[in-house]
Amino acid sequence: MMHCTMDDVLALAAGEGSAWARQHVAGCPACRAELEALYQRVAQLKALPVRRPARDRWPAVRNAVVAERRRRRERWGVSGLAAAAVLAGLLVFRPFWTKPVDAAELARVKEQSATLEQQLQRYDPNGRVTSGRSAALAAALEDRIAVIDGELAQLGPSQAQARPADLVTLWQRRVELMEQLVSVHVTRAAYVGL
């Protein structure tokens, strides 16, 4: 007597059994038992105890994320500086379109930003141990700075059309965030309103 194969039994369990298999299993106690055993195995597999990790891997994930964000910010920072250089050139060679007060203000906030970057580099945050809270705050600030740097970088080729007042606003926002970032790194526990 021919019996069902495991393929047949699995297909039956999935409601996809052949006409022959359905007919056979109806009259064959052995194959019905095989089908029942399959149901039981699957039910027991689903009921196996849930295993939990012995170690917390979140710190490793978080550290990798923070490091990635820092690298991204540094990359954007270079682009941002390049964009600033282009902008400075435009301001010098196209003074007719720039109000003097905007140009002066722009130069001032960019200088402020550069000073803060230097201050941060001197502090060398990468070489220091920080608390999880400080690292999270710094990462959030770095992300927001990266967004601004991205906006500045994207202005690159089209800066001739950008309004200096808008650029001043972007650089002012960058300076504010940089100040907060320096504060987080230097004071470790500074409240920066995040």
């Binding site: 019996h3 699995l10 055993a37 295993r51 891997r57």
Partner: protein
């Protein structure tokens, strides 16, 4: 799996904005199911923890691409499954184990699942209570464990498994059949004990 996998939309939105606290909350919500899936497939706790870490690094990097279509767990599980299967594919050492198992199962049964057909008076295993299904399951090859776990427990279709493994649907089906033949045999013979 009786763990609650529901997370508030606001938490997902915060995670998508890069908020590390929200991302950690997602990690806490899904670390156990991700680890459990990886452990069932890979067996070694170290490997499962690595998959857990790799999965959440990917989640953090890609969470902005999650559009809220389907449950978040389904999206994360897809990543975890992919990472676990990638580990199987890249682990040359384990191929030996698989070959060993294939030869054991295949002895006298070229078709794998076909040995039942034509056998008189077979003893179809009612599952004895004393047999440890968990241990029998762990003795399957990684590929077999992956197919059984994804199909029977996680509810993947053969089409989905085939796509994830880069194999055919018939490969997935035959792996499942072979695995169940082997499980039944181990349970019947008490090999798992």
């Amino acid at each position: 799996m009786t763990i609650s996998l529901a997370v508030p939309d606001i938490l997902v939105a915060r995670a998508q904005s890069g908020d590390l606290e929200a991302l950690e909350a997602l990690y806490r919500a899904f670390e156990t199911p991700v680890y459990n899936l990886a452990l069932r497939v890979l067996r070694a706790p170290e490997d499962a923890e690595d998959v857990l870490q790799e999965t959440f690094l990917e989640v953090v990097r890609s969470i902005k691409q999650y559009r809220g279509e389907g449950h978040l767990w389904g999206w994360i599980r897809q990543i975890a499954t992919s990472k676990a299967l990638m580990r199987i594919r890249h682990d040359r050492v384990r191929e030996t184990e698989e070959l060993h198992e294939e030869s054991a199962v295949g002895a006298g049964n070229v078709g794998g699942a076909g040995e039942m057909r034509g056998t008189e008076g077979m003893s179809p295993g009612a599952v004895p209570a004393q047999i440890d299904l968990e241990r029998a399951f762990e003795r399957l090859s990684e590929t077999s464990r992956a197919v059984v776990w994804l199909h029977d427990v996680e509810g993947y279709t053969h089409e989905e498994i085939a796509e994830q493994m880069g194999k055919t649907v018939s490969f997935s089906k035959s792996q499942l059949a072979r695995a169940h033949v082997r499980l039944r045999r181990m349970l019947d013979e008490g090999v798992a004990q």
